[in-house]
């Protein structure tokens, strides 16, 4: 077993990183903030997958690499595996985590959450809460993209949240 730190250290660091980029460095430029947060994740994913695959033979195909992300990689980072993997066999993979750790502790301001009950899809409160969640997801999306890119698989990764803390990551492999 390697060294450990308390989980709250990682949580605090991520929360503050997202807040710094969204509220201070690129306030009102959420597009730019998102790209930076994703880039930080990419860096981390790239380095982690380098370390976790050091003593493994090369993956022979995309599916094998994706399975590595779902099992070994996810277990190292989140202490659990991805719960469900789907693919259309044409380069798109959906990785579903039913209890994504970085969303599990996330609370949404109740006044914002109640905004969802107003049945108005354009409700400002709801979209603000959704935006805060999505800002936090650029980091793990970057991690997955960085990890796969280190395995020689260029791709685009996006995240979808339907029911907190469940989360799906959609990986589209570039031909």
């Amino acid at each position: 077993m390697g060294k450990e730190v308390s989980e709250s250290c990682v949580d605090s660091l991520l929360t503050e990183m997202v807040a710094s980029y969204c509220d201070r460095f690129y306030a009102n430029k959420s597009e730019l903030a998102a790209r930076r947060i994703e880039a930080i994740g990419y860096q981390v994913g790239h380095q982690l997958s380098e370390r976790y695959t050091m003593e493994r033979p090369r993956f022979t195909d995309h599916l094998e690499a994706i399975k590595f992300i779902c099992k070994d990689f996810w277990s190292e980072v989140f202490k659990k595996q991805i719960d469900n993997l789907k693919t259309n066999h044409r380069g798109t993979f959906v990785l579903q985590d039913n209890r994504f750790r970085w969303l599990a502790h996330m609370s949404v301001d109740p006044s914002l959450e109640n905004g969802g009950a107003s049945q108005d899809p354009s409700d400002a409160g709801e979209s603000k809460a959704a935006q805060a969640t999505s800002m936090h997801l650029y980091f793990p999306c970057g991690i997955i993209r960085g990890a796969l890119s280190n395995l020689g698989i260029p791709c685009a990764v996006s995240a979808e949240v339907s029911n907190l803390p469940a989360c799906s990551f959609v990986v589209r492999i570039k031909a």
Binding site: E7, R24, F25
Partner: protein, 186 residues
């Protein structure tokens, strides 16, 4: 519920949820790297890391007080000991010690060698002015401010710059008297 008795840093660290330090180390490294790209000036990166630490510190103190069961430290001396013995241990699992007290007990050093922030890190020549671990000094400053102690925290030794240990000088600037939000007769 009766108040929790003070617990040792080791006991708390053993009981909290922990994660692989690699993730923490690499994430911090990636943040510093991105900040260097985005902010360009090393001095500005130092400042922003300190600010991020401060923001984390003012929130972390609640978790610290809740989990450690530490109640009131009688003086700054006791406070510094608690940071080194309990604080460092319960969050990052490392041991630090307090030394170099000045005569009036308002300035001391926290010294440690193990530091999960710097694993795999080497500073390139272009970053010599960088206080890589500045988030840590910010955290201490922020946390202490929440318990009414205004401090200045500066790095006096840094292993990334070739020193034999990390040393943070913590200077008590002033103790802010606590103001209660209620009146006597309420």
């Amino acid at each position: 519920m009766p108040p929790v008795a003070p617990r040792s840093g080791d006991a708390i660290f053993a009981s909290v949820e922990r994660v692989n330090a690699e993730l923490f180390t690499l994430t911090y490294g990636a943040i510093v790297r991105q900040l260097l790209t985005d902010l360009e000036e090393v001095e500005e990166v130092n400042k922003q890391l300190d600010q991020m630490g401060y923001n984390i510190g003012i929130r972390m103190i609640d978790e610290f007080l809740a989990k450690s069961g530490v109640s009131r430290c009688v003086d700054f001396k006791g406070t510094a000991e608690v940071i080194a013995k309990v604080g460092f241990k319960m969050f990052v699992g490392v041991t630090a010690f307090v030394t170099n007290w000045d005569a009036d007990g308002t300035c001391c050093s926290i010294v440690f060698e193990d530091n999960p922030l710097v694993e795999f890190v080497e500073l390139p020549d272009t970053c010599q002015g960088l206080n890589y671990c500045n988030i840590l000094s910010g955290i201490i400053r922020g946390a202490l401010e929440m318990v009414s102690m205004k401090t200045e925290v500066t790095w006096t030794r840094d292993m990334l710059r070739g020193d034999d240990a990390f040393e943070l000088q913590v200077k008590l600037v002033k103790q802010i008297p606590e103001e209660y939000p209620y009146k006597d007769d309420e």
